[in-house]
């Protein structure tokens, strides 16, 4: 009953009170931020957008991962004579027709093959070359990544 009376009282007085307050509020205004507020917000959003797109990208692109794995596999093969026959087995089911080269081309390929077979490159040299190429690639990738984020605050 008390609650009901309260609501009736609220209903009776609300209309009049609201009218006065409404008028008064309409004459006052909202607070306003500084003039460059929108600019500051948009700057922060731009930075956020750049950071987000960078964060979504993998640190090392898949193509570089392939190169690194291939380099490591070559290095492992050279160093430890690792058994890589599983790769051969992997492609065993695929039937590849031998390519028929013209006689002139065959002679040329044979001469290159005999030239290469005569060259004696120490294993350690090949490993070193692979390692250096891998390091240069990795360095390039990491430099590109970090130089892009360096100026993002």
């Amino acid at each position: 009953m008390k609650q009901f009376n309260k609501e009736v009282e609220m209903g009776k007085t609300n209309e009049f009170k609201d009218d006065f307050l409404k008028r008064m509020f309409k004459q006052s205004s909202l607070d306003s931020p500084s003039d460059d507020f929108t600019k500051l917000v948009m700057n922060r959003i731009q930075v956020e957008a750049v950071e987000k797109s960078e964060a979504d990208k993998p640190v090392i692109e898949p193509v570089y991962w392939i190169l690194i794995v291939a380099g490591l596999a070559i290095a492992a093969y050279m160093l430890f004579q690792m058994d890589l026959s599983f790769i051969q087995n992997l492609f065993a089911s695929i039937e590849i027709k031998p390519i028929e080269f013209p006689q002139f081309t065959l002679n040329f390929i044979n001469s290159i093959q005999s030239f290469i077979s005569n060259i004696k490159i120490p294993t350690i040299f090949i490993v070193a070359v692979v390692a250096v190429i891998s390091l240069i690639t990795l360095d390039k990738v990491l430099k590109t990544r970090f130089s892009m984020n360096m100026f993002v605050f």
Binding site: M10, T13, N14, F16, K17, D18, F20, L21, K22, M24, F25, K26, Q27, S28, S29, L30, D31, S32, P33, S34, F37, T38, L40, V41, M42, R44, I45, Q46, E48, A49
Partner: protein, 190 residues
């Protein structure tokens, strides 16, 4: 307004970040008012209001369009400002029913009618400063922004009935304050 907001929201979601500028310009005053009235510091309010828009931008995909964009945005503003002040909820202003019992608004309005518009405004603004900032924010949303009780409930996290009771009490407190100011002034002149 809501349809236009949705149009620019779609543009932003399609990758046109620049369209967010329009949304910022439309709502910055109210967002700033909410934050400023809770924090009571212009400097802090500037920074927190920026955070509010950044949060809104980051969560734009989560905006379900069930409520108005402005309601959703003001709720972020309200929550961010409240968490900044480490308050979990708006404190219920300690206005006892006994204080405002048998208060006659008609008399106060009649008294106010005798004053000029400038004086009325002066009393009103001074009285508004005397009530807790969070309470004045509820009144601002209700009268100036013409938000419904349901929307204010959604923004503030208070129940609908709680908003109604609070608005009723805050109004009474505001009138009481105005009345005291008038009496003080009259007493002074006598």
């Amino acid at each position: 307004m809501q349809q236009k907001d949705l149009y620019y929201i779609d543009k932003v979601l399609d990758g046109d970040t620049g369209s967010f500028t329009i949304l910022v310009n439309r709502h910055k005053d109210m967002v700033f008012t909410i934050v400023n009235r809770i924090l009571r510091s212009r400097e802090d309010a500037e920074e927190i209001a920026q955070d509010v828009f950044l949060k809104a931008f980051q969560s734009l995909k989560k905006f379900k369009r069930e409520a108005k964009f402005s309601t959703w945005l003001y709720r972020i503003a309200y929550n961010t400002a409240i968490s900044k002040t480490r308050k979990k909820r708006i404190e219920v202003s300690a206005i006892e029913d006994s204080i405002i019992e048998n208060y006659t608004f008609d008399e106060i309005i009649e008294e106010l009618d005798e004053f000029s518009l400038d004086d009325k405004r002066k009393y009103f603004e001074n009285a508004l400063k005397k009530i807790p900032e969070e309470d004045s924010l509820l009144l601002t949303m209700f009268y100036l922004e013409e938000r419904s009780i349901e929307e204010i409930s959604e923004i503030s996290g208070l129940s609908v009935s709680n908003v109604k009771v609070k608005l009723h009490r805050i109004r009474k407190k505001l009138y009481q304050t105005i009345d005291e100011m008038i009496k003080f002034r009259v007493g002074e002149t006598i």
